[in-house]
Amino acid sequence: MRPRPLIVLFACAALAAWVSAQPGAGPTAAELRQMLRANRDLYDDLAQSALAMAKRNTSLDRVDECRRVADRLAREVRVAVDAKDADRLAEVTDHLHAVTHDGLAPNLADAHQDIHPHSPDSPRLREVHQSAYDSLTRAANTVPTDGDLATHKRAQAAREKLAAAAARIGPPPAEK
């Protein structure tokens, strides 16, 4: 047999082996079931929050609702830490970071702009802001700095991301 077709044949076989070793295009049915199990309650709570959010027409009310979503995800962080599940921790941390960055922070900014310190809404804004900040700080501190989970790169990254989320909103401004 001539050498050139043999080379091509070997190449195709090698390529086929390489392709089959790659991860599949999507999760398997078993993985989907596991995800559903893990997320079922969270789906429900997120749906509730989304429906509630759609009724909120002021920035303060939206801050409050974002705070509830953040609290819910912070709870998932604690569950993942207790289960020493670095993958789950990384996943829910990403979502908590997104809610803080894309939901909580902009609405807090608008609320602080719209509600002046002597407004009747000001105490509630301070309370919600403080509560959100405390929740994020607690979530960051939940991720251990020693032990099995602490050695995972994903867990370390999650801790940093949670701390960044808390810093993103900061504590409420000091009262004058």
């Binding site: 080379i7 989907l32 559903l36 809610v99």
Partner: protein, 275 residues
């Protein structure tokens, strides 16, 4: 035209002093709506007269500073990029054309075989355990979180929220269709209940809040058509799968199909202004 529609149209006009032709017949016969128009005109006039502290001193200072800086504005020159346009790609294309791919193909294949062999046989560095590949994340969960933040930041109008919730229901239906063969009854029923909630309290509820006259007929039609299509697809898919599903998934899929059908019918009536 109802008074509600007329009022909303008046408030959305670019200029309330110039009502559109289709508003005129209603205004001609309705004193209450004429009063609303008069108030809208008055409001616009008041807005123009809102008191604002004078800024003359600061303006004068700025103009003086401009004057003192001399007659000519000296700005930094803008340096044009030398890699713009298709010219930069021409040398690469001509190089590619010069290659004789008959022989190059064999060479590439040989390198590949060699490379893979070396990779398999080469010793791994000691002392480092590579981290296991991460478990797949739920894309659906990610989309739900994104939609929640959209509702918090950008989707404030009812017609925008209809779209967000319609996509939400599509995700829930998709989840049910993906797992119906392996999920247990409790999980499937939970999905079906969530679906029902989001359709009724999300899609339909927000659709009811779309105020008459706030969207053009084309925009309004698009909002309703898109949402009804999502529900129609859900009805079709869920009905079909309910017929072949295992017993623990059948009821849930049937419920999703019914909910989608009811939701679609309600939207159709709302679109026609019949509810």
């Amino acid at each position: 035209m109802t008074c509600d529609v007329a009022r909303n149209r008046l408030l959305a006009l670019p200029d309330p002093t110039r009502p559109t032709d289709d508003l005129l017949p209603h205004l001609g016969g309705c004193a209450a709506c004429r009063a609303v128009q008069a108030e809208a005109v008055r409001l616009d006039a008041l807005l123009k007269r809102l008191p604002v502290p004078s800024s003359e001193a600061r303006k004068a200072a700025f103009l003086n500073a401009l004057d003192a800086a001399g007659p000519v504005i000296r700005t930094r020159p803008v340096v044009p990029s030398s890699l713009t346009g298709s010219g930069a790609f021409k040398p690469v294309v001509s190089w590619l054309k010069r290659i004789d791919w008959k022989y190059a193909g064999g060479g590439v294949a040989a390198c590949l075989v060699l490379g893979i062999g070396i990779w398999f046989l080469a010793p791994k560095p000691k002392g480092t355990e590579p981290e296991q590949a991460a478990r797949p994340k739920s894309e659906r969960l990610a989309r739900m979180v994104k939609r929640t933040t959209d509702l918090a930041t950008t989707a404030h109008a009812p017609h925008q929220r209809v779209g967000v919730f319609a996509e939400w229901t599509a995700d829930l239906k998709g989840e049910a269709c993906d797992v119906y063969k392996v999920a247990d009854r409790e999980d499937m029923n939970a999905l079906a209940s969530q679906y029902e909630k989001v359709v009724s309290e999300g899609v339909v509820s927000q659709a009811r809040q779309i105020e008459a006259g706030t969207l053009t007929p084309g925009e309004r039609s698009r909002v309703f058509t898109d949402a009804m299509k999502q529900l129609a697809d859900a009805e079709t898919d869920a009905s079909r799968l309910a017929g072949e599903a295992p017993p623990n998934a059948r009821d849930a899929l049937a419920k999703i199909a019914r909910t989608a059908q009811d939701g679609r019918r309600t939207l159709a009536k709302l679109a026609e202004g019949k509810q």
